[in-house]
Symmetry: D2
Subunit: 330 residues, 4 copies
């Protein structure tokens, strides 16, 4: 907010050629230790959809986890922005694709058989939709499968910072050094108003992206309202600090649950999302105390249990966590 | 071919207002014992895609079997013509959807939650992609699920005639009387050059379809080249005769296989498609004799077996069947 | 900015059901003296494209001025979001459509002839792209032509406030009372960071718009960042004050030019845009002093002249205007 | 029809890899004296739309004559198949584009300004929509303008044969030797049932076209029904003979009109289309005798006149022409 305020006064050229936008581009180059092509957009759905649209083809298919955000939570925007490419959802434990499952799915779309279409991209989420992480070698293995079919690997990094600090690796290591070709770099879930970026690690792939973005109604006359957010976000590593905090709160929450009878943690949390099983009684008590969540259908819960998704963030305090645990204990 | 030749000479008004086209419309009304809206197109993919596009919505989802032709064999044309509606493939034994599986899948796309989109249609194939059939009450049960969410039931009837003669029911019984709202009525697989039709059982649904079809490049200046095919196809019930013949050849083929060692028929054939398991030796022998087929990946075959798809048609003769069986026996 | 800051602290429910969003809806109802359906988006292109997409049809055509922003300045986003509806640009003096020209253009797209498609909407800009205005009766006359073909009248109100204060009428009078069905209500050009709204005067037309907007990647998890801008924008009529100021600065600029030799004003300014003809010498002098503008091709300029577009805004001061005039005078 | 009948019996592999299809490809290579990539489709709208879709880009614009078939007679299919590229119609006498007018229109879509989009293709019709022809050097001049902006020149050759025999040049001379990159080669208007082809003169441009065509529902399981038509069409130069005949009938009709009082021919016919001005009395007399035509709005006709379009074809006889003239004379 402070960064945004700093850019309220004064005049600036419209449509993104202001000095701030140029400075942000340099910051992304530094961050990724490589010349990248970076484009700011206003929502994660826009970042994902336009990243995929860049590589879309007639009859193209995007391979992703069946629970991927792009597959089930974006109102089919990826299908729309790619002019009808198909998203092929693949099963996989705890939100993660395996190279074998990916290869099997891609083999069903062989080369030179137009009936079945053709691969256009592979997409993974880091953090995944179940709060888990891909290790660097796992990313590379999936990238290898994608590249063996001549399509890029996209990473949905809506929680990029949370993954980074959890793995304790560099942005370069978790992306292009592990075979990632294009990244949706999210700021919104980690503290920004609305600040997302598409980062191409092969800048040549971005030829024409300016047109794709403008046609998608994602070009802002006052572009500095997004770049200013990124300026504040990246300054003094504040984005890593907020992510570290969110992850720590998640760990605190998980640790606090472990000794509570009736609570199960079927998925090991690795970032800032927790997927516990509570008894219905526990859930009711929390709701009575003001908590809001919804039940995720799952085949590993009994009739007396619910499976929930809890997210901690930059603004979660230890006190909030402890209060939640108190109500959970009853 | 004869019907087509009959319309070669003489002049006719361009673009589908010729007397023959009008006559075809009346024939479809008679066939279905109801006033229908019928539109001729040139491919099954066009019929399916445009039928679904009629009901498409922003964020819409089409629910179908995971092996449905629209889902895996049409180069994602349905996604394209619906401007990016998602096809949600659902598992089900022997190519068939069950009401429970359909309901579960549709429940994941609840009302009033734009993130997940919304239902646009349900689609089934009759004959299914594994040569099986829906009984009338099974169709009705799926229609009920679709209608409970206010979306239509589409039937991909690429092999409509084969299903009809196998079930020994009327066209009306197998469609609108069982809850079907729109039908892709196929002629090509049963003897036509290229003759497919989209049939709307609620003619009001077809408002605007003329524009959809013209925009899809499926309006023919010499429309009688399709209507003439249907004229010949429907005349004297010749379409039912060819379908009956194709089905009979399939039965002959299946019956002939039953006593051959090494052959298994995991799916009971109900129309003109057969999905046998052969030993690799048998398959090799058939290929050496000139047969052409391809191996379908399956988890119920051993290393020494292949799973194949065989189709009989209006032009298959008993001699061909017997020759095939001779080679199979070795 | 202050309004935005007020909403920085504290927690709010994600995805637009926060109390602030509800309050904004009420404010729009009050503003337009009618229950409207209002949807916030982040760019003018998004507002226009989604407003038009709401009424899009297969084969649909949108009739607009040939110089309309939607026709030439939005990278064909309207064509994209409408899945390929055609924009039919119509000539007209000083950026304005006439009912006769509109009717002639629409007559070329008659009913019941799919070859030519069919009308989907009519769109006008208020303020127009040449800084002129439609009077209320002129709007009504265009609405009548649109409605006679059963399509809505859309108003691109990127400069809605500037038009309103210039005509000195109410928001209701300039929209639905004059036949407007849907409005792109712009805040960005009048002081907001990025705040645009689509306003439907027949709320029933907006059925399904939530899906259209989500699929367009225009739904913000922190929706209050847009609604807060509108809160500040509308509060105490500050939006009208900024518009009045911008218009006054334009008048001051125009008045100051009238006595300068070599300057011509072929189009009477009516809001905050000015389209003067300068001598090339004058233009060069201004550029040397730091002004930035570009030459608009025009057939009414001599070889020694340039035709320019100048825009005043909420932040333009009298001193700036006078300094500009000083350089112009030389 | 005979060619089609010859391929009715016997078996052939489905989906276009039959020997006949291969033979047609070779015939096109021979015809154009060059290795081309040729794809058969079923309508002219499909040929045009898919040719243009091959070169479509986000924000792309196709420049064509304002009266071009693709611009006004295809229900906006080109916009749809290009996922929303804009068609920019340009004025020009007698249906013809001039290099100057084309350059002026393209200059309004400059490089590196995403707001205005970018050029994707230039399209001309040969024969034009007003029955006129481009000379070879005129085609080359338009190709030069297109190529200077790095976009291809498309030729809508719905009446390709009529143009060819009128200019008395070779297929190669009228296409790639004059700068044409891709051609819609029409057979339907010159005697086929439904036979159109897209011909790429730089075969590399066609990479991926198989997917585009399949996704467009333009792949036929019995592809030989189109290739057989082309076989008959091209055999023994019968296509040139039918075109020559149609053109001759048009000349006979024009010549016969010249001495009839009240008839004017404002556009010199160059192929098989005639655009005469008749008195209303003459028109009424013809209609009473059974002729069917419609009045084209024109600003050069008096109140007592009508402007009409007459087309002769392969099946028009001298007797028909003379009978028409007899009624015209009254």
């Amino acid at each position: 907010m402070t960064a945004l305020s700093n850019h309220t006064s004064g005049f600036a050229t419209a449509y993104g050629v202001d000095p701030l936008s140029r400075s942000i581009e340099q910051q992304f180059n530094d961050l990724f230790e490589k010349e990248v092509a970076v484009f700011l957009v206003s929502t994660g759905t826009a970042a994902n959809s336009l990243a995929l649209a860049t590589y879309a083809k007639p009859g193209g298919a995007v391979f992703c986890h069946e629970d991927a955000h792009i597959n089930v939570d974006e109102c089919h925007a990826p299908e729309f922005f790619t002019a009808g490419n198909k998203l092929i959802g693949i099963g996989g434990e705890h939100g993660k694709l395996t190279p074998d499952a990916l290869r099997t799915a891609m083999d069903k779309v062989p080369d030179n058989n137009p009936m079945h279409g053709r691969p256009a991209a592979v997409s993974i989420s880091q953090v995944t939709e179940f709060g888990t992480l891909y290790q660097l070698d796992e990313i590379q293995a999936l990238a290898d499968v994608a590249h063996s079919r001549n399509v890029p690997l996209h990473m949905d990094g809506a929680r990029f910072a949370n993954a980074l600090v959890s793995l304790d690796v560099s942005p370069a290591e978790m992306t292009w050094k592990a075979g990632v070709d294009v990244l949706s770099f999210g700021g919104t879930k980690n503290g920004c108003w609305c600040a997302e970026a598409v980062v191409f690690f092969n800048p040549g792939d971005a030829e024409g992206f300016e047109y794709l973005r403008k046609r998608a109604a994602q070009v802002f006359s006052k572009a500095r309202f997004i770049s200013a957010q990124f300026e504040g976000y990246l300054k003094d590593d504040s984005w890593l600090a907020t992510a570290r905090h969110a992850n720590a709160m998640c760990t605190r929450l998980a640790d606090g649950m472990r000794d509570i009878e009736g609570v199960r943690l079927p998925i090991k949390p690795e970032a800032n999302e927790l997927f516990p099983v509570f008894t219905k009684e526990q859930a009711a008590r929390l709701e009575a105390a003001g908590a809001k969540f919804y039940d995720i259908p799952a085949d590993f819960t009994s009739e007396d249990e619910v499976f929930l998704r809890l997210v901690t963030c930059f603004a979660t305090t230890p006190e909030m966590v402890d209060e939640f645990l108190t109500h959970l204990r009853g």
